[in-house]
């Protein structure tokens, strides 16, 4: 697995760079803590980190599931109905030009400090990539396949379910891969705006108490979880949705 080796090499390089900056600049440890200290903190605070990581991952996973399901259904609806397409597409495009992060305070206001405001934030962020990549793939269905299905006497609904959807699943998979990267961003932003749990909350808390090492520890745990999530989604897509051709 050259991918793994390259990843490990890149990580080592990053750590070396990090340590070099500390040695050469002599920067204070409350500005940039050394890697060894952060590693020590991760170990010492493992229970605390785990407790908050579980919350963030729950937000991310639920948001991912709901966003993927909603995007799946929306894309099919948009393809099936030209009217829906005409009405909804401009809204989708417009929503892309608005920074959706700006919604986070409003979501917190409406949905409170608990899980749901973060789940909703993650959902909103991943909804567009999932919907648009699945929609594009559905619209690109080979016309000749559809012609063949019509000659065979298929109804539009059956053409959708037996031809278009399976043909477009690889497109749905590429939307999911993007979503796996975006969902944690949504959850963290939601936590920054207002939360009492989660890695984003822990980062702010640590920052407020000048515990920079804990802040870095939370950040690194978040980064590792995001990479693992992306790898898991990638594997799942390869196993179930992708098609060798």
């Amino acid at each position: 697995m050259t991918g793994w080796r390259a990843g490990i090499a890149a990580t080592c390089l990053m750590l070396a760079l990090w340590q070099t900056v500390i040695w050469t600049t002599g920067v204070a440890r409350f500005i940039l803590p050394p890697p060894a200290l952060v590693a020590q903190t991760i170990w010492d605070s493992r229970a605390l980190l785990a407790e908050h990581a579980v919350v963030t991952m729950a937000e991310v996973l639920i948001g991912l599931l709901l966003g993927a399901a909603l995007g799946f259904v929306s894309a099919i609806g948009l393809v099936a109905s030209p009217t829906a397409r005409a009405l909804v597409r401009p809204i989708l495009v417009f929503s892309q030009s608005v920074p959706v992060f700006a919604l986070a305070p409003i979501l917190t206001l409406w949905l409170g400090f608990g899980l749901w405001s973060k789940i909703t934030m993650a959902l909103i962020i991943i909804y567009f990539p999932v919907t648009s990549s699945f929609f594009d793939a559905l619209m690109r269905t080979n016309r000749d396949w559809i012609g063949l299905a019509k000659v065979m006497g298929a109804s539009p609904a059956r053409i959708m379910w037996h031809i278009r959807v399976p043909a477009a699943l690889p497109g749905f998979a590429s939307g999911l891969r993007l979503a796996a990267v975006y969902a944690p961003i949504g959850a963290i932003i939601g936590e920054w705006v207002g939360a009492s749990k989660g890695l984003g909350y822990l980062m702010l808390l640590a920052n407020g108490r000048a515990k920079t090492d804990l802040m870095f520890a939370a950040l690194i745990v978040l980064a590792i979880l995001t990479i693992l999530l992306h790898a898991a989604v990638n594997k799942l897509c390869e196993k179930t949705l992708d098609r060798p051709e």
Binding site: W145, A154, E245
Partner: protein
């Protein structure tokens, strides 16, 4: 299906005339071969017969053949379905019960019974086209429309496919679009060349199909066709 299949009239796509004054008659239970320069509208004729008129403006009369089966140059196999499920595609698209034993018989007929569980990607081009033939046979229609179905195959595979298809589609009304004079001479019971000004009827050999590649009447008809196709219109 003994009624005559006939298409008379003209067609246009996006206001561009494709053909006009066409008068095409398909003789029931026999093979009609349609040749002609690329872009002259052969596939358009086929699509009209198949009821895929989307985007085509047709003026004239067309006796609808009812249910037809179609096979094209691309095998149009669904890459996510096994060979067996591809053969059963028509049934699942119509919400009918899947008749697996019959599908297995069709695969047997095209010599692919051992490949039923494979994905199309695991087959050669010739094998894939045989699966498409099995799928077409599974539809069991009186009228079969073939749009250059063998043109992507190598010469040897093509000759085998021609023989197999002629044997398995015997008794049906077949419209075969082809650009290959040899194919038309081997399989055509009526041979027509489509030109912008109408159809030219070429005398077809009268021996039963599939005809031998080196039969004298085949070679003569083939040479004849070459001459006609080369002649400026």
């Amino acid at each position: 299906m003994n009624q005559l299949l006939r298409m008379t009239g003209s067609a246009a796509i996006d206001g561009t005339p494709i053909f006009s004054q066409l008068d095409l008659v398909l003789t029931p239970h026999s093979w009609t071969c349609l040749l002609g320069a690329s872009g002259v509208g052969k596939s358009t004729v086929l699509r009209l017969f198949a009821g895929l008129a989307e985007g085509i403006t047709f003026n004239g009369s067309l006796s609808k053949p009812g249910c037809v089966a179609m096979m094209a140059q691309q095998d149009l196999l669904m890459p996510w379905l096994s060979v067996m499920d591809n053969v059963l595609l028509g049934a699942s698209l119509r919400g009918e019960r899947a008749d697996k034993p019959r599908a297995r018989d069709r695969l047997e007929q095209v010599g692919l019974a051992d490949h039923a569980d494979k994905l199309p990607a695991a087959l050669s081009g010739g094998q894939r086209q045989r699966v498409a033939l099995a799928r077409t046979l599974m539809e069991d229609r009186a009228v079969v429309l073939l749009d250059e179905p063998f043109s992507a195959l190598d010469a040897l595979t093509r000759a085998q496919m021609q023989e197999l298809t002629a044997e398995l589609l015997a008794g049906r009304t077949v419209l075969l679009v082809t650009h290959d004079p040899n194919e038309a001479a081997r399989l055509g019971q009526t041979i027509l060349i489509m030109t912008p000004t109408g159809l030219v009827d070429i005398a077809a050999p009268t021996s039963p199909i599939p005809r031998d590649i080196h039969a004298a009447d085949v070679l003569r008809a083939q040479a004849d066709l070459f001459d006609h196709l080369r002649r400026p219109t």
